[in-house]
């Protein structure tokens, strides 16, 4: 029986962590993810979990703690945001390349500067090449569901990679909304026990983790890491299928909203996808064939699937809540445009940088982007492909 509840996105993630009962949490507080270790430390204090909570002195140490715990054969989790994720940087790469399936809840916040505590995706998008699997959530429900699925994905023998579960800071992390929770036993059974084949403290086969890798082997290891990321695609779908059986909620690499006959489309990540769905609905009422693709999995990037989903549209707006300062578009735009390169008939693609540093993403702005698409669909190519949305001129 699903449990009808209402709670914030942060509480939902902490709730999932309690149900999973990991061996170790290493965490250092930073807005807006602070509530996650805060809620979780209460579960620890109440004896509701057996987790060893390590209150470290920095995020670099938080990730180091998780690496140590996971390498020793335990299951480790953490939560962070913005500068906290940035301070983990070096260790993010170590976690991924050591093939340690740690689970990190990233509550997305702008990465300074100027200093800002509000939402955008510049923190996790900066970590997109660190070798972590990245899942993004539209709301508290998806934040909870993704976290429940993360370990099954990361710990799979064909994958063995850490997973970053992202949700939008404040917008979903601090908003109370309805949610359907699963019962403790169901989550526990779904996630299962962590039984790594080899680990640091296995007495039958002791090993060292993270030693110097010489020129003779480094590239082979990197190739294996790349293969693991490719393998993650099938595992993500398999886990989603199993999750549907216990939750009746369907997940894939991305959600297609009214895309079947869409002529113009928006590709977007996170909470703003919900706002954009309302815009799609109102455009449909006007007879405009609008659709939306909401990216759930950014790493690995579902390139061929995205290309297929966009093949029939005339024009699409690719929405980036982070800039990569390439001078020609944000990270999602680069991926989507690259994915569409092999299409015989390519849609017109434009990029919008939007919602930086908590700039409120409103239906009227998203509608403007759709209206522009209708123009491009008629005219063909736009004058430019790299725009900013909702910015004062």
């Amino acid at each position: 029986m699903a449990i009808r509840e209402r709670m914030s996105g942060n509480e939902a993630v902490a709730y999932a962590m309690r149900q999973i009962d990991p061996d170790v949490m290493g965490a250092f507080p930073i807005t807006p993810s602070t509530e996650i270790p805060q809620y979780f430390s209460q579960y620890v204090a109440n004896g509701q979990v057996h987790t060893e909570f390590v209150a470290v002195e920095s995020e670099h140490s938080a990730m180091s703690c998780c690496i140590g715990a996971q390498a020793a054969g335990g299951r480790a989790v953490t939560a962070t945001s913005s500068a906290g994720l940035a301070l983990m940087w070096e260790m993010l790469y170590v976690a991924a390349s050591s093939r340690l399936p740690i689970t990190l809840s990233c509550v997305n916040r702008a990465l300074s500067g100027p200093i800002n505590i509000n939402n955008d995706h510049s923190d996790s998008m900066g970590a997109r090449d660190s070798g972590w699997i990245q899942l993004y959530a539209e709301n508290n429900q998806e934040a909870y569901d993704n976290f429940c699925m993360a370990m099954r994905i990361g710990e799979h023998k064909d994958v063995r990679l850490p997973v970053m579960c992202c949700q939008d800071g404040f917008i979903t992390s601090h908003a109370i909304e309805n949610i359907e929770l699963l019962e403790d036993e169901i989550v526990k059974n779904f996630v299962g026990k962590y039984e790594p084949e080899n680990y640091l403290l296995k007495k039958e086969n002791p090993l060292s983790v993270g030693p110097y890798d010489t020129v003779a082997y480094y590239m082979e290891h990197k190739k294996q890491q790349a293969e693991a990321m490719k393998n993650a695609k099938a595992v993500i779908l398999e886990v989603a299928k199993d999750f549907e059986k216990i939750s009746a909620r369907k997940y894939s690499f991305f959600e297609e909203y009214k895309m079947d006959d869409a002529e113009v489309a928006m590709v977007i990540i996170g909470s703003s996808a919900g706002t954009a769905k309302a815009v799609v609905d109102s455009l449909r009422e006007e007879g405009i064939k609008a659709g939306l693709i909401k990216i759930r999995v950014f790493r690995p990037f579902p390139a061929s699937e995205i290309a297929k989903a966009l093949a029939h549209v005339k024009a699409a707006a690719i929405m980036d809540k982070a800039d990569s300062f390439s001078g020609c578009g944000g990270p999602l735009f680069a991926e989507v445009r690259s994915a569409c390169y092999g299409l015989d008939s390519k849609p017109v693609l434009v990029n919008y940088i939007y919602g930086l540093g908590g700039r409120d993403v409103v239906t009227t702005d998203l509608k403007k982007a759709f209206n522009k698409l209708l123009e491009y669909a008629k005219k063909g190519a736009p004058e430019e492909t790299y725009y900013h949305l909702g910015v004062r001129e």
């Binding site: 505590i117 709301n139 404040f170 703003s272 996808a273 309302a278 409120d360």
Partner: protein, 191 residues
């Protein structure tokens, strides 16, 4: 009732406007609604103007932006009227609910031409007399329920009684005071 009700709260940091918005989300949730309750975050400090929001409907709302055309505006601190455009975007068929000892019509001149319904409730006095401290959020919550008719009075009181009993299990005197404040507010809201 219309499809979705949108409410914007204006208060000052530390007064409990955010808590009141989250409480309203709670009680609406308990009566079977889909809810959103969220504050607008920034570098807050005690006394600075803050905003919080509610969306309440029978279906899940996917919009995740602030509210610009609210059905109701709640002003937890009357002094904000002088510095914040509290009626901005407020639907003329909606209402503004102000924590004030004044008569509703006495406030119209200071509401930048708002032509709709104005309601007042002396929430500070009710809180002081019933709870013993001037914390206006509980009586403001009841006033919003009364004016918006989002929930049935009795169902609201019953739900609040349960959640207060849960929250203040070790302090039964607090429960009684809060319930009294809610009941008085339901009957004393003007306009």
């Amino acid at each position: 009732m219309q499809e979705m009700t949108e409410i914007r709260w204006h208060g000052r940091g530390g007064q409990g406007a955010k808590t009141a918005a989250l409480l309203l989300a709670d009680v609406a949730f308990n009566t079977g609604k889909y809810v959103q309750g969220f504050p607008e975050y920034g570098p807050e400090r005690m006394g600075a103007p803050i905003t919080a929001f509610n969306r309440i409907s029978d279906v899940r709302c996917t919009i995740h932006s602030n509210i610009y055309q609210p059905d109701y505006v709640v002003v937890v601190d009357e002094t904000l009227i002088a510095s914040v455009d509290v009626t901005k975007g407020l639907k003329p068929e909606g209402a503004i609910i102000i924590n004030s000892a004044k008569e509703p019509e006495d406030l119209r001149a200071s509401l930048s031409g708002f032509s709709g319904r104005i309601c007042t409730i002396d929430a500070n006095r009710i809180a002081e007399e019933c709870i013993g401290r001037p914390i206006p959020n509980t009586p403001m919550l009841a006033a919003v329920v009364k004016v918006s008719q989002l929930l049935d009075d009795e169902a609201f009181l019953k739900d609040m009684e349960q959640s207060l009993a849960h929250k203040f299990a070790s302090k039964p005197q607090v429960i009684e005071g809060n319930l009294k404040a809610l009941k008085r507010s339901l009957s004393e809201v003007k306009g």
